[in-house]
């Protein structure tokens, strides 16, 4: 309901709540801008590290750090929006249309798994992040299989599983530390 269309006796009380709503929106927009910038910086740092393991898909996934933090600090809607915005922007700046496609597949699957596991409440942030890292790799692998139409892409699944666990664990520990230090900041 739009705040501008209100008339009559209730107008006064409505404006007060509308103002609060407006402030919240401004806060959200400001924080979201900071998070987006941070995610893009991490994507850039990741790109600067000359790290060729010889097997495509093995990388740190630094930008996932900010996704995990946002997921825990706000909710899954913000995390999803940030994930998509980051992938599209980073893709246009550093990559190409292909890298956007793979990153989106990995990012969305990863976020879906993380949201699901976080709801379960049996897992800590490290477990959620590990599942996110692994499913990110699996999502990209599936898209790669669809694009080249061969199952052979799956040969490196074990390597990608292991690297997903290691990077997911690192990201999980890091974001846990960051969250502990920013726990007094209210985002919603």
């Amino acid at each position: 309901m739009s705040c501008l269309q209100l008339k009559g006796e209730k107008a006064l009380t409505w404006t007060a709540s509308c103002a609060r709503k407006g402030n919240r929106l401004k806060n959200r927009a400001a924080y979201f801008g900071v998070f987006t910038a941070f995610a893009l910086i991490l994507s850039y740092v990741e790109m600067l590290i000359p790290f060729h393991f010889g097997i495509p898909g093995v990388k740190l996934g630094l930008a996932n750090l900010i996704i995990v933090i946002v997921l825990y600090k706000t909710d899954w809607r913000e995390a999803l929006l940030l994930s998509v915005v980051r992938v599209v922007l980073a893709g246009f700046i550093f990559g190409n249309l292909f890298s956007i496609l793979y990153s989106l597949a990995g990012g969305i699957l990863s976020l879906a798994v993380m949201v699901f596991l976080k709801k379960k409440e049996r897992f800590g942030i490290a477990g959620v992040s590990i599942a996110g890292g692994v499913s990110h790799n699996i999502g990209q692998l599936v898209v790669a299989m669809l694009v080249v139409e061969t199952y052979q892409v799956g040969y490196y699944l074990p390597v990608l599983l292991i690297s997903g666990v290691i990077t997911g664990l690192l990201i999980g520990i890091l974001s846990g530390e960051v969250l502990r230090r920013i726990r007094h900041i209210q985002l919603t």
Binding site: P56, N96, R122, G127, V148, T150, V159, G172
Partner: protein, 118 residues
Amino acid sequence: MKKSDWILAVVILAAAVLIFLVQAARDSEGEKEVTVTVDGEIFGTYSLSEDQTIKINGTNRFVIENGTVKMDWADCPDQICVNHREISRDGESIICLPNHVVLAVEGGKSADLDGIVR
């Protein structure tokens, strides 16, 4: 870390090791060849025992040397396939996603049988 976090990590690592062992068991010592696929269609098959350099449609070039295959040139921007390490084991592959090119090593005739049951 919670206990279930550790369990999750160990289960995934165990699955990875299991798949790896299955792959290692399937690898054969026999004559091997590399099959080149473009857009899902076979472009050609080349023996690994013969050193040679082959161009694929002017978009990629690969080298067979000492029984290993390496992509040494590609016109794509990301160069992921060029940075890929050389391959030689049955089932291994190098993939150039932008050009839809796949190089896949397959065990030769001796590996046609998965196993013999008596």
